[in-house]
């Protein structure tokens, strides 16, 4: 194993607006390269939901220079890995290579940034693949429940539709829709290149200039994202599906990224279910009332939601779980919050980040994500920000966020429970 020393994160901007970020770190002769675009399902309109995700799939199907399969073959022949993901706010493409061939990633991404070709037959085949992907998700009832709950709770925000899109929209998206989306969002000024690993920073900037420097920037992107009105009453969604396991989900409105409230919620999420002995785990798992707990909070560009999901143990009523979850949420509002649980949660978050950042890929995702979300420095500041939170701040945020009268609740009633009801 050849070890590399860490160096500070460096960030520069090319004349065409492309941001370039690099950091030397990691254990082996490995380099992660990723390009992140500020585009996601948030940039879609009703009727063409799923556009960003479908476009991401098509970015693997051919460009002017790379025919279908060429990129995969190039990566494979050079022992690399590549993939991509689409979220609500960003889309990221990435490659991991050994250090002697990392520049191939720039060759691929520079070509994909400017020369996508969409073959109509490829579009139709990929549309079918995505419909299979959606069918796969919907076979998992708690995913379906979560999707329905979000759709019922948000009225205006683009976060109300799933990233993959509604089935009818996936069917209806045209080649022109895709090309317009590509031309609007896939430009240097709307992107950031992140290179992390066993690599020299100056070399990264030189190579970025060489591969991307000549790509013209697009026109400024104007976004008019609808503001989500306040939720004025509690909303309830009920699904009945075959099976034996009931689920309860609850979501409340939560603020956007880089707010003191969103930091407080990140720590509150950890107090609720970050460890084996956190509050919900002791109240629900240790008592045999639930078999799984998920607390979801990923702050986004716009206000989104904070959620708790519970897989209910047979024999326990969903109403009882609902009361127990609200009991724990209210306990955070009313206090006390103990120093010792704060310390455990913070130690877990801090060490967990250090463990995770051993992987250049995880580090690259973190840097790219924060840059695309508006502030690169936040990647390394967030843990210190969490440490500076007081118990009073946590309780204040909890009091303004955990509002039952303005929450959305989803329940999944399994067939076995329906039969019991009928009997």
């Amino acid at each position: 194993m050849i070890l590399t020393k860490q160096s500070p994160v460096e960030r520069r901007q090319l004349a065409n607006g492309l941001t370039v970020i690099t950091e030397r770190r990691g254990l082996g002769p490995v380099v992660f390269s990723g390009i992140v675009y500020r585009v996601g399902s948030r940039d879609e309109q009703p009727g063409v939901t799923g556009l960003s995700h479908l476009l991401e799939h098509l970015m693997f199907k051919g460009t002017q220079r790379f025919k279908k399969g060429d990129v995969a073959a190039l990566v494979e022949r050079n022992g690399g890995d590549l993939n991509a993901f689409t979220s609500e706010d960003v889309t990221m493409y990435y490659e991991v290579f050994s250090r002697d061939r990392w520049k191939l990633a720039l060759e691929i991404e520079a070509e994909r940034m400017q020369n996508l070709r969409i073959d109509p037959d490829e579009l139709e085949a990929e549309r079918q693949v995505i419909l299979e992907e959606r069918a796969m998700y919907l076979d998992i009832p708690q995913i379906e429940l979560g999707e329905e709950l979000v759709a019922a709770t948000f009225r205006e925000s683009p976060y109300r539709w799933p990233i993959i899109g509604w089935e009818a929209d996936i069917q209806a998206i045209t080649r022109d829709d895709l090309l317009r989306h590509y031309e609007r969002f896939y430009s240097p000024g709307n992107a950031a290149l992140v290179v992390v690993g066993d690599v020299d920073g100056e070399e990264v900037f030189t190579e970025a200039e060489r591969y991307f420097g000549e790509i013209p920037n697009g026109p400024p992107i104007e976004r008019r994202i609808p503001r989500e009105p306040e939720l004025r009453s509690a909303t309830r969604v009920e699904l009945r599906r075959p099976g034996n396991l009931a689920h309860f989900q609850v979501i409340v409105r939560a603020p956007e990224i880089r707010t003191r409230d969103s930091e407080a919620l990140a720590l509150l999420a950890n107090l609720l279910s970050g460890t084996r002995t956190s509050r919900l785990d002791l109240a629900l798992l240790e008592t045999g009332k639930a078999s799984d707990i998920q607390v979801h909070f990923q702050p986004k560009s716009d206000p989104s939601s904070f959620g708790v999901g519970v897989e209910v143990q047979p024999g326990t009523g969903i109403a009882e779980i609902e009361e127990l979850v609200w009991g724990e949420l209210n306990a955070l509002v009313e206090g006390p919050i103990h120093d010792e649980e704060m310390e455990r949660a913070l130690n877990q978050l801090e060490a967990g980040q250090l463990f995770s950042m051993q992987s250049p890929s995880n580090r690259g995702f973190l840097l790219g994500w924060n840059e695309a979300m508006g502030d690169l420095s936040y990647a390394d500041a967030v843990v210190d920000n969490l440490k500076s939170l007081t118990k009073e701040e946590l309780q204040d945020t909890a009091a303004r966020t955990f509002l039952r009268e303005k929450s959305g609740s989803g329940i999944l009633i399994p067939q076995s429970m329906q039969s019991a009801e009928e009997a």
């Binding site: 194993m1 399969g69 139709e124 990929e126 995505i130």
Partner: protein, 424 residues
């Protein structure tokens, strides 16, 4: 040219007085220490009627030693910002932990406390049993999991590898605290254990700690018998489960494969890469996903065990495509049985050798690799020679491996809204 991954640092191998194999790799890039401890056996040691004992045992172990409650034990690790987990697999029981360097000695001491005198309390067993029951229920309702469980049971019928780590309901219901104690004595013998620690530590200080706390763990009286070799699949078998309410049919086709010690295992890995293990490009992905649009994901896997192995192709598709998908998988399997082309071989070799360093980017990955490497008795120079071994493979090597796998891919497992024409 490919980059070598293992020039330094060296791995120190020691066998403690009680037979526990220890592998230490010291590296101070990050102030982190990762530990991986495996014991031979896993669910193969579950007695008849106690299927799932290994998992209940692993989960109960996670809850601490005698004299320390579950909350007290868990909070030791939580306060240190560490993580500790214990799990049963099909042939190994594993413990894994990661610490900040400054807390590593404390964390390792607490794991030793656990192994010296595990609590295995009745009340803890009831908590983990309840969770294990729901886990089984969730597996029944997730058709990917269900299909894999049914497939493994069918393929290894009668062999210890057919015992699923998460067990079956009657076994989970039947396990008693004395079963846990007996299972611990049988399954956690130091002379069947392999402990790898990678990261930022002083080797001599750590070794002294390990000799004092791990070297004194007792071996019970009777060592379990070795797992017998897996016999190749002989009879074709269809396992079909109909769930009309689901949207996708999950399909698995496969059979027996090669063991982790088989001389052809590198050939099998390269052949499987061409066929369908690669997420980037493969015959199955190109044909069934990209050209025919029949699946979001289709892949093939080799499951290596010490006394045998398994091979499977797994995909999900909508019911109207199921028949066509099965025919397409069989067509590709038969085509791959003829071997692979020169260009495909070269691409696979480039990928497998070039991507090799990508697999070892954290101490956790390295410690897991070393503990398993010791269990499988791979040679000391495994990492150093991997690239040479892969580079030397020929088309004949891959064809030989294929001939030992494809003819035995005789089990079809399908779960979901099966179309009528599937039974034919």
């Amino acid at each position: 040219m490919s980059v070598r991954v293992t020039a330094s640092p060296r791995v120190q191998r020691i066998t403690l007085a009680n037979g526990l194999r220890v592998l230490l790799q010291s590296d101070s890039t990050d102030p982190v220490v990762s530990l991986s401890l495996v014991f031979e056996g896993g669910s193969t040691l579950d007695p008849p009627g106690r299927e799932g004992l290994g998992t209940l045992l692993a989960d109960t172990l996670e809850r601490g030693p005698r004299g320390m409650s579950f909350i007290e034990f868990s909070r030791v690790f939580e306060r240190l910002g560490s993580n500790f987990s214990s799990e049963a697999g099909s042939e190994l029981s594993t413990m894994h932990a990661t610490f900040l360097t400054r807390h590593a000695a404390t964390g390792i001491e607490r794991i030793a406390d656990l192994l010296q005198d595990p609590g295995l309390r009745a009340e803890d067993l009831e908590v983990v049993r309840q969770l294990a029951r729901s886990d089984l229920q969730a597996r029944e309702e997730d058709l990917d999991d269900l299909a894999e469980d049914l497939f493994l049971e069918a393929i290894a019928l009668g062999h210890p590898y057919a015992k699923l780590p998460h067990g079956r309901r009657p076994g989970i219901d039947a396990v008693t605290p004395p079963d846990l104690r007996a299972g611990y004595e049988r399954g956690f013998r130091p002379d069947r254990g392999h402990l790898a620690i990678v990261g930022d530590f002083d080797e001599q200080v750590l070794l002294t700690l390990l000799e004092r706390r791990f070297g004194t763990l007792p071996n019970g009286k009777d060592a379990p018998a070795p797992v017998p070799p897996v016999s190749p699949t002989q009879e074709p078998r269809n396992v079909l489960r109909r769930f009309l309410e689901k949207g996708q049919v999950k399909i698995i086709i496969g059979g027996t494969g090669l063991s982790a010690k088989d001389p052809d295992r590198h050939s099998a890995i390269a052949w499987n890469h061409v066929l369908g293990s690669s997420s980037i490009r493969s015959r199955l992905g190109d044909e069934i996903r990209d050209r025919m649009g029949l699946a979001y994901s289709v892949s093939s896997r080799v499951l290596e065990r010490k006394a045998g192995g398994f091979f499977l192709v797994h995909m999900g598709t909508r019911p109207e495509n199921a028949r066509r998908a099965i025919e397409a998988i069989r067509f590709e399997l038969n085509r791959a049985a003829q071997g692979v082309g020169e260009e495909e071989l070269n691409d696979a070799k480039s990928y497998l050798t070039g991507s090799f360093p990508l697999r070892f980017t954290t101490y956790g990955r390295l410690s897991r690799f070393w503990s398993r490497s010791s269990f499988y008795e791979w040679p000391d120079n495994y990492l150093d020679t991997y690239v040479e071994r892969i580079s030397a493979l020929t088309r004949e090597d891959l064809a030989r491996a294929a001939a030992r796998i494809v003819p035995f891919a005789r089990v079809l497992c399908a779960c979901g809204p099966l179309p009528a024409n599937l039974d034919a």
